[in-house]
């Protein structure tokens, strides 16, 4: 297969970026999108040009490192996949493909397609944990957890922290990301105790870091590679409300 690629190039956070166009040929349909970029980089390096920087690591859809806004969609045109799991068979031969970094005030560009997502770490540091030290905890079966609650907690915990929700949201809101963590812990007896406090602290941190507010457009759910449901946002709102009432 062959493609025309329009790729965002930006030297660093301080300079302005622009699109550059590249042509690429002899790509197997079984090649993944990132492998296609590997092939492009191999070509660019051999021509003495600067390769395209992009984040990636596990290449099996779980580490959350890869990003990329492809033809106007986070992680590209396929549903419920990360960019590393997207294969070129999902495109038509000869397609023009536009590749951009995540666009959000809270995720500044580091270089080309690489952005800084440290803001997500900061939100979790604000309260995305259960306050328990190593050691001195009860046996794992002491507190039964209904299968339903354990499953729902797991549904929310499937978030890989990639940032597609933020990149997709017209407000640049991190509500789905925050909700997934809050909801996952709130569904378990161990996490319930700090539920309200956690919700309040994480939402406050999210606002402080420049993420936008949620206006329920549901775009985040549609683009989430792990299909995290916006019903978790409802649970976050409930926890948040509880915290406000307690005040």
């Amino acid at each position: 297969m062959k493609f025309k690629l329009k790729i965002w190039r930006q030297k660093n956070a301080k300079t302005k970026g622009q699109f550059e166009t590249y042509n690429i040929e002899n790509v197997s349909p079984d090649t993944s999108f990132l492998e296609m970029l590997d092939i492009l980089n191999d070509k660019l390096i051999k021509e003495g040009k600067a390769p395209v920087s992009f984040d990636h690591d596990c290449r099996e859809g779980i580490c959350g490192m890869c990003s990329l806004y492809i033809n106007g969609r986070a992680h590209g045109p396929d549903d419920e996949v990360t960019t590393c799991q997207l294969h070129m068979r999902k495109f038509k031969d000869g397609d023009t493909i536009t590749v951009e970094p995540w666009r959000s005030a809270a995720f500044p560009v580091i270089k080309d397609l690489v952005v800084d997502r440290y803001a997500f770490d900061k939100i979790l540091q604000a309260g995305g944990f259960i306050s328990v030290n190593t050691g001195g905890v009860p046996d794992g079966n002491t507190i039964p957890v209904s299968k339903e609650n354990a499953d729902e907690s797991m549904d929310a915990a499937a978030c890989i922290g990639c940032g597609a929700c933020v990149a997709t949201c017209k407000n640049g809101s991190a509500m789905l990301f925050v909700a997934a963590r809050v909801s996952s812990l709130a569904k378990l007896p161990q996490g319930k105790i700090e539920g309200a406090k956690r919700a309040k602290a994480m939402v406050a941190k999210m606002d402080e870091l420049g993420f936008g507010g949620c206006t329920n457009t549901q775009a985040c759910e549609a683009e989430c590679p792990k299909a995290i449901s916006i019903s978790h946002i409802a649970r976050l709102n409930r926890e948040f409300l509880c915290a406000k009432i307690q005040e």
């Binding site: 090649t31 290449r59 490192m65 294969h87 979790l124």
Partner: protein
Amino acid sequence: MSDIKLQSKTPDGPLSEKWTRHKAAIKVVSPANKRKLEIIIIGTGLGGASAAASLGELGYNVKIFCISDSPRRAHSIAAQGGINAAKNYQNDNDSVYRLFYDTIKGGDYRSREANVYRLAEVSRNIIDQCVAQGVPFARDYGGMLDNRSFGGAQVSRTFYARGQTGQQLLLGAYAALNRQIAKGSVKSYTRHEMLDLVMIDGKAKGIIARNLVTGEIERHGAHAVVIASGGYGNVFFLSTNAMNSNCSAAMQCYRRGAYFANPCFAQIHPTCIPVHGDQQSKLTLMSESLRNDGRIWVPKKIEDVEKLRKKEIKPSQIPEEERDYYLERRYPAFGNLVPRDVASRAAKERCDAGYGVNETGLAVFLDFSSAIQRLGEKVISERYGNLFQMYEKITDVNPYKEPMTIYPAIHYTMGGIWVDYNLMTTIPGLYAIGEANFSDHGGNRLGASALMQGLADGYFVLPYTIGDYLASQIQVPKTDTNHEAFVEAEKQVREKIDRIFNIKGKQPVDALHKKLGQIMWNYVGMARNEDGLKKALELIKELRKEFWSDVYVPGENSEFNQELEKAVRLADFIETGNLMALDALNRRESCGGHFREEMQTEDGETRRDDENFMYVSAWEYKGKEHDPELHKEPLVYETVHLSTRNYKD
């Protein structure tokens, strides 16, 4: 033959009391003194994150370094199937002893008894800890923790969170870590890579690190350094490891004097998606848990194989009686749940005999049709849904309808930095935990035991044992990073980077890395022999020259430069490959994942040589111009009776 530096420090007493006695005997550091001590941890996977969180909670000042944008990206996250623990919740006669025994036997009697017993002992605490942190383990309808079976065991002791157990355990450790970062006891350095270990007066005192965003070279001092940077599977280029997983931190320690143990022990995982072509960048693992319900087979008749390759028939059209379920045939007692090394070699045997089922001839089937018939599609989907989805996305084949095709791939490395019972390396003040060390898995690791070991080391072993060393450091002031040793180490790092840029050759880093991978897979892969290993050593020598004269790294140091990162790592992969081949050549026995063709039984099983090779090989760096020196730590079995591994009956 034992060596003054290779004292395992295994405590005396009966096996089941060693750890308890040891904990009572080692020193502790008072809270007031902990505040004065600094610890550097390299890597934030299960080992690094759990250690950093636990040490932070204890009151030490911890600095963590990871190469990714967040600690949560570490490759522990990709572990799918589960984590072992001797809880005996299923009442199937599991026990600490049985987990210990399975692990020693699975490792083909090449690991230390005392370390493995301790691992089995603390395995139970790990589950409790993770539950308390909010890890959403699978539960049964009564609300109790659920278990599944894994290879190399006849009991059900594997705890899991769908097919994302590694991710959930890491999120637990990462959350505990985040709590400490918020409290200020842990300082996080993301997108930072360690480039050298700094030693003062023979002790580990800090590191040189590169800020991967700005290219700045930084000095960081501490009272102790912990390496938790994972394994060296990416020596093979194609592996199930993440693209950025590398062994540079370990090799820097090796060059500074830490012995490197059992480098030839690498694990080849039997159930990976087969290679599709030369544009491929990595191999994807299909969890071992699939072998609970999947049956592995190839056709009995070579005509069927040919028809499959020509796509004239679908696998589902081959009738039951024409299928060779070769694991069930060869190993009736364990069937599809034999250990990984056994399953991998059996797949290679069938493919070498011409029964490989895809165009490349390097694939076998993993079939769920009997399980779907027995349990229904819904149950299978609940158990493995995300794995089936992942498989379909990659291959465009629906595994509910047609069997998966799988083939072995490099997955994990049992070898690593040599450590004693305290997890300290041969360098005082330098520790290695998790996959980065060599200690617990011998010649072959059992499934669901890597997560167990990483968390055991980080939560329950290192926080105790590091105190024994740090108790002697309480009077030692903060490390001065203006010390000559730091100046010299930084200079060397800068020179190395300049040297790499100045080569200005023609080949991109990946092209050279693929060449290394080919050499390793062909000669130091699933089957090894003397001629091949000697050839590998020759080829690696040539490749080293090629790298240092023809690599091309664009750009400059003072920027985000992924090609530079890869080049620095590849230089170390080449040295690791060399070490693996040397060790494989020396170990003239077949054992676990290390299969020497000269040493096999009549039916193709491994032939161990306990008389001559019942030792840990520990390699000491002797400079660029010389081969490393081999030291031997004899393995002593006080409790376990050595036998030939038997998974047949």
